[in-house]
Every structure is written in C-alpha cells, then in structure tokens.
C-alpha cells in the first residue's frame, strides 16, 4: 500500500460511526463491529484528517503542538495513516481548501507516538442494531 504524503484522505464515513470526546477519537466499523480508539496525539491526527489536511500538514502541526521533531512527526503520521488505510478507516479524497493559519500554543505538550488501538470484544454486540454500512451515502433524508 502506497502513501502519498502530499495527498488527501478522509474518513471512510459511510462505513464508520465515529465520535471525538476530549480530543480522543472512537471509530466503529459498522460492517464488522470492530471498534478503534485514537487517543491523544492520534486523536489530533484523526481530527486533522477529517479537516482535510495532508499527511505533511498534519506532521507539521503535530510538531508544533507536541514536543517532537518534524521528522519524527512525519514518520509517525505516515505510519498511522498507513494503518488507517489498511483497516479501511480512511480513503483517498479530493484536495481541500488550504488550511487557515492556526495559532500556536504557548507550550508544546509531551509527545506520545500516535497509535491506533483495535478492539474486537463487542463485535457480536454491534453486529445487528447499528445502522447498516453502505446503504445511504447519497440519499439520506433530513
């Protein structure tokens, strides 16, 4: 699987149910009932993917927000994005509008390698009742 660090990605929204609480993201694969957590730095990466930022932009922002080098941030974001692609949690997307400059914090936060945690313990519980994946991408009723 190839990664384009200048390319754009988006959440595989039709297949996923997701929420972000206090900066941590939880994703539920509606097809399998597997769910995932993206905590701390990983939650930051997830929100920037959803906001249409490239891998390079995300890494730059991560290095500005957290105590890490741009090279380390880029390597880690690339690894995480590859994992997200492998799990079908994101897909390639059309280019977004350029990001508006965002303010920098006074202090950079401690850095932890962004990781994706996968859980299968509720696959049975999530197999029947959640909304069906793939049905209604273009015709949702308001």
């Amino acid at each position: 699987m190839n990664l384009n660090s200048s390319g754009y990605y988006r959440s595989n929204g039709d297949r996923l149910a997701s929420t972000v609480i206090d900066g941590d993201a939880v994703l539920v694969d509606l097809a399998t009932g597997v769910y995932y957590s993206l905590d701390g730095t990983a939650g930051t990466v997830w929100q920037m993917i959803e906001n249409g930022r490239t891998v390079e932009e995300i890494a730059q922002r991560l290095a500005a927000l957290y105590d890490t080098t741009p090279a380390q941030a880029l390597s880690d974001v690339e690894s995480l994005v590859l994992r997200l692609l492998k799990e079908d949690l994101i897909v390639e997307a059309a280019p977004s509008e350029p990001a508006a400059p965002e303010p920098l914090p006074d202090h950079r936060s401690p850095y932890r390698t962004p990781t994706l945690e996968m859980y299968t313990d509720m696959s049975d519980l999530l197999a029947l009742d959640p909304p069906m994946p793939g049905l209604f991408a273009n015709n949702e009723k308001k």
Binding site: D24, Y35, M122, D124, L125, L126, A127, L128, D129, P130
Partner: protein
C-alpha cells in the same frame, strides 16, 4: 394458538410509533406463537397514524398504552413497567417473530434457571420494493444470520431490569446496545440460540435510515463511554 410448552407468563411488549403499515403482521406473529400463556402490550409513542385502530381490532387480547412521544427506549420502558409476566419479550412493530420463538427461548430459561436472558439469531429481510438493496447485501456480513443483540430477539427475566436498570431514555438509537453492554458488564448469564427466530424488516422508514448520522454518532458515543468505563476500572 397451539401450545407445545407452557409455564411462566411472557409479557410481549410491542413499541410502536406510526407503525400502522406493518403492525398487524407483527401482532399476528405474536398471536400465532406456539407458546402460552402470553400477554400482549402495545406501547405507543404518540403515533399520529392508524396504529391504534389496527391494535383495537384485536379487542381485549392486547393492552394499548400511550404516551407523548419520548423515543423508543421510553416506549419500551412504558411496556416494562406495565408488564405482569416474569419473562419479558419485545417486538418492534415492523419486525416478525417465527412461531416457535418464545417456545424455544422459554424452554432454555426453564431448563437453566441460572440464565438471566436468552437471545436468538436474527435475519434481515427486504420487501418486494427493495429487491435491489437486498441483492447488495446477499453476501455481506450484515445480510447473514446475526446473533441478536437487539430488543426484538430478547427474552429476559424481569429481575434483570431491577439489577441493571431500564433502557436509557436519553438514547434514541443505541438504547438496546447500551442495555446489552450493561448486561455484560454486570456479568449476567446469557444464552444465544443459533436458530433464526426473528426477522428484521428493512424498509424505507427504518429509524436508523431516516436519521442515519445521528444514529451513527450515538452508537459511537455509547462505545466510547463503554471504553471509558473500562479504562476507569482498576
């Protein structure tokens, strides 16, 4: 109604909201159960259609309860509070039970008193006007027989509601999933029957279809809350 198995009274709770189109089929699938004794409670969530007229054709074979619209969980709870049976079952007004659904489940709970609840498998089905959609899901995991962690597949001892509480009325979509998660967290005992005894109807007005994004967010939030509780437990 024939009766292969009899014993404890089963309260059959049918929550309905503007469900006149399929309600008769649902009720008929209850009244043709091979198990008795049963009581049937239709819990109405402020329907504005002809649901009540459909229910009234069954006379005193069922009880009709009504409330101002408060959501599916509150409607199920309305039925739970009114139920007289020691065993409770639920059927959404657009779904169907197979005739031996209660008989099979009651037999399991009678044989194994330590069990708190029994669910069966469920199979989705589509109406004749949705053949294209049915074709899409023929080979999909969600198109197969699925272990039924949903209210329509459940037969549960009343005592369980005293132990883990009612359906959460602030949830409109994921209330049953949340309830089953609490059931599991309380380490209660569940048996899953391998047979498909419930048919879940896919149609243009399924709640999770009409309000898809809201339902997705709610399911994700329930999972996130579960993860948070687990991490907070030493």
């Amino acid at each position: 109604m024939s009766s292969g198995v009899s014993g404890a009274l089963v309260s059959c709770i049918v929550p309905v909201f503007n469900g006149e189109r399929y309600l008769r089929e649902a009720l008929d699938s209850i009244f043709t159960q091979t198990y008795c004794p049963i009581e049937v409670i239709v819990a109405d969530d402020g329907s504005a259609d002809g649901s009540r007229a459909v229910a009234e054709t069954y006379g005193d074979r069922l009880r009709w309860l009504s409330q101002t619209t408060a959501g599916p969980a509150a409607t199920r709870n309305l039925g739970v509070r009114a139920a007289r049976g020691d065993l409770l079952a639920f059927l959404d007004a657009d779904d169907l039970w197979k005739p031996d659904k209660l008989e099979r489940q009651v037999a399991v709970l009678q044989q194994l008193p330590e069990l708190d609840a029994c669910v069966c498998h469920a199979q989705l089905f589509w109406g004749r006007d949705m053949v294209e959609e049915e074709t899409l899901y023929r080979d999909h995991p969600r198109g197969q027989a699925i272990p039924g962690y949903a209210s329509t597949t459940l037969l549960v001892r009343r005592r369980v509601f005293d132990r883990i509480g009612m359906f959460s009325e602030d949830l409109w979509f994921a209330d049953a999933t949340d309830w089953f998660i609490r059931f599991r967290e309380a380490k209660l005992a569940l048996h899953v029957l391998p047979e498909v005894l419930v048919l879940h109807r896919m149609h243009g007005s399924n709640l999770t279809r009409r309000r898809r994004e809201a339902s997705k967010t709610e399911f994700a939030s329930v999972v996130a809350a579960t993860l948070s509780r687990r991490r907070a437990t030493p």
